[in-house]
Amino acid sequence: MIKILFFAHLQDEAGTAAMEIDKSGLTVGELKLWVQENHGLQGLTSVMTAVNESFANESDLIKDGDTVAFIPPVSGG
């Protein structure tokens, strides 16, 4: 299982803060495409991704048990 977290407008669009999916062997980039297609999210391409609370590259492989968070451009401070 992979845990996926949504924040800010992505949370509004997805209608949920978190979900679990049973996919494995995907790269970050592939997971993004899958989520876009299956959960009605647009434009994840401009969104950064964190795997287990660290920023990840599009080519990083996601393992079973990982937590993947989509990080839209931040606006703290």
Binding site: D12, A50, V74
Partner: protein
């Protein structure tokens, strides 16, 4: 009293409490940056704000900023507290405190910290106006979303 140097909190922030963390006998200068909720941005009136964060990662990223500062300015000690939840006008959203034996370092490292917060710390601001709400999305606030809840499109 907690002595965490990098914190996220749902409660009001006291600037003195954050600066007290970095005060020490070796310090001749402490700088504090206090980010507050501004009523008007480009003529548009904010009623209140809402901050959301990916909390555990946000704390890690604040700690990373502290590490980056330590590498660039070994004399500096940094503490940062960021608030989340609903904030009213004039409420404090963030306090950054840096102490150093000399003042130049304290100013430079402090400004570095706020710039980095706006780049890498997973915190998001939702503006509440009289005519709607919007998640603000650009890291440097130079290209805010034009309308509603739409996010920036990539191309």
């Amino acid at each position: 009293m907690s002595q965490e140097y990098f914190e996220m909190t749902k409660n009001p922030i006291s600037a003195d409490e954050v600066t007290d963390k970095v005060a020490r006998r070796e310090a001749g200068a402490i700088t504090a940056f206090i980010g507050t909720v501004r009523e008007f941005t480009k003529g548009k009136r904010t009623l209140h704000l809402e901050y959301q964060a990916y909390e555990p990662m946000a704390v890690k990223m604040l700690e990373q900023i502290g590490t980056e500062i330590k590498e660039r300015w070994p004399d500096a000690i940094t503490a940062i507290t960021h608030r989340i939840g609903k904030l009213e006008i004039s409420d404090i959203a963030v306090v950054i405190a840096v102490s150093s034996p000399h003042r130049k370092t304290a100013y430079e490292a402090n400004e570095y910290a706020i710039e980095r917060i706006k780049q890498i710390v997973p915190i998001w601001k939702k503006e509440h106006w009289e005519d709607g709400t919007m998640w603000i999305g650009d890291q440097l606030e130079q290209t805010p979303y034009p309308e509603g809840n739409r996010r920036k499109r990539a191309e």
